[in-house]
Symmetry: C3
Subunit: 283 residues, 3 copies
């Protein structure tokens, strides 16, 4: 099985999928996870991958969020438990890789938004050993682009991994990489009843996902979000339609949402921005 | 086969799909129908499902349009002919379920926009009997969210149905539900040459789909839409580009469209709004 | 294998996919390529198909970009090498068909943006010989629409081709068509250091894809785009974030891009528009 995740939108995933179909057995399962990762945003994409891939069975995960495409940034393969991740060496693969090799005990404390360093094995790919896709009736010049490595580099790597039964250590076109570029998700600074938070992501519904662990909301029914008093709820529908609510979202963090509305717009908060949360005693 | 339909956009369908992959046989077919149902709009989503699923072979249909997620609204399974529908008990499954158990004769009269009551069997799900998905390396706190039942409740139900050969009546975690919450699509009030219509949906092209049966347009070449005279056509191209046209759409209802443009904007009509149509004698 | 490409957005592909599932063997692979082709834009869609399908293994390719749906434009099947294309007779299938039967030598000169005429075999479909999809519990009136031939005409054709082992010449519902409607991609007029270009497409990243062959940029590090001096780069990251760059894109043509921004907006250039490029001597 090969899963696909990118920030490509449409139609670029089509050619990438074509290369996978061309180079794998006809019984190989291809699963589009998303092609709407935050465009060119390595850290927020890393957050999403970390929240998605742990629910997916072991597979080869082709990940392309690659603002440095065509530069000297390397193509890497990361081994994480039974999962293999393929993508650029820009940090996007690391948070999810750490999560995949972790275990529930290690993470029972989520004061830290990121996972501890763990036995993630990374390999750098010798791209010259891979055959570049040549389209049917194609112009020689179109092969091996500098701007579409999803099609020309990463899909060939994923297909080659899918088709081989060799272990990563023995593949001649992989070399161990001791220090892949990392990307750490920022940890909220909490001090008693106050948290200095960062927005990790804004989802498609406009929900603002902070890096404050959900337990921060325990025992209070109201929080101060910067200067705004916001009720704490269990669900979106804990408040009237159009009203703001702070709740523990599906990722385990404090979210700032609006019932049937867009929290991001209501709070004026976007990815990477800072926000202060304060627990308010019940009146 | 499990089909997926939701109002999630991206990337939430990915985690839901992961749970399905994790819990079903590797040969199980998963089919993304759409994840762009009208967000949080139960009735308009119900319309779309009713127009889509009758074209799909019998399957387990996972449907998540769930503005009440996390409240005490129940998770249900609806048996409709050879199809099984899984989703929230908010009415979104009922119009399509009635359609799936209906037959062409019953519906040859579409004066009513909705289908007659029919033998739809519904079951309420005992969620406590289902195993909540726990992600690899996951934080205990992230399991069993109040805001993402697509991943934590509905996908597990769909997977369990796919994997069992038992009939619904014998599954210990299902109990018959005599009155699932219903959602009726509004019927247009027609009085001779006049119809008091409601907009059931606006499609991606901006076409305004009313609840007026297509036969309303028979024998006239012009209608009055509120105060605007609009030609009746057979196709979009019956009028010049940019011009409005009333036609019988692919759902059998009167649509208000613009050739190569957006009817919704041209007519100023959106979902759930009312509009009056009047048949005009040929000049 | 059947691939799907359309300008439908969502949710119309769902019903089309339902018809394919209903009418093909359960082991048939269905691959969504894209449903975001430029809406109603035959020429730009033809460009994208030509850049995508040569990377996809031989298959039946269902293509629906059909602004003339319901008029007397015909449904056709085009045989191109081992690929079979199904769609409307409006030219959208021809550029990719020519490409698929071409070969690298023929195309090593890409001065022409389009491919030479080639042995593309086209057939017109006798639609009356096809069974129109009738939905479960469906209203008779809904069958055989004038506005949704993706569901009612093209999907049935694709499914019938997938299910037959007969050659196209022997299928009774196909007749040879000597002159399918063509669509030629415009060729840039180049005169030494100047190119009079047309925008073939704007991609999801906002990159402006012209019809000027990439070699035009060889040996210069700056071009004049209408009146603006723009650096020539190898990659997006050749310039600072937010800065414009001209480069050879993944299709082999000169692209006008912005690093981490939208070239289309920065240059004010959209599909089909003209732009003049001039090679500037290094200062």
């Amino acid at each position: 099985m090969i899963t696909l995740a990118s920030d490509f939108g449409s139609p670029y995933p089509a050619a990438m999928k074509g290369v996978l179909l061309e180079r794998t057995d006809s019984a190989t399962r291809l699963v589009d996870l998303t092609h709407e990762l935050p465009r060119g945003d390595v850290r927020s994409s890393a957050f999403w991958l970390r929240e998605i891939l742990p629910y997916v069975p072991p597979a080869i995960h082709l990940v392309v969020v690659d603002p440095g495409v065509g530069t000297d940034r390397r193509a890497i393969v990361v081994n994480a438990g039974d999962h293999r991740l393929v993508g650029p060496d820009n940090g996007v693969l690391l948070p999810v890789a750490r999560r995949l090799v972790g275990n529930a005990e290690q993470h029972s404390d989520i004061e830290s938004a990121d996972d501890p360093a763990a036995d993630v094995e990374a390999y750098v790919v010798d791209e010259s050993a891979l055959e570049t896709p040549v389209p049917t009736g194609g112009k020689a010049e179109a092969a091996g682009s500098t701007t579409f490595h999803g099609r020309d580099v990463f899909a060939p790597i994923a297909a080659a991994l899918e088709e081989t039964s060799q272990s990563l250590e023995t593949l001649p076109w992989l070399s161990p990489l001791s220090e892949p570029i990392d990307c750490r998700l920022p940890t909220a600074a909490t001090d008693g009843d106050t948290a200095d938070a960062t927005v990790l992501a804004v989802d498609d519904f406009g929900n603002v996902i902070t890096n404050v662990p959900g337990r921060f909301l325990e025992g209070v029914d109201r929080v101060l979000v910067d200067d705004e008093r916001v009720p704490v709820g269990e669900t979106f529908a804990s408040v009237e339609r159009g009203e703001p609510v702070a709740l523990v979202g599906s990722h385990g963090y404090v979210e700032l949402d609006v019932n049937d509305g867009r929290g991001s717009e209501a709070f004026g908060l976007f990815v990477d921005e800072h926000v202060t949360l304060e627990r308010l005693e019940s009146p």
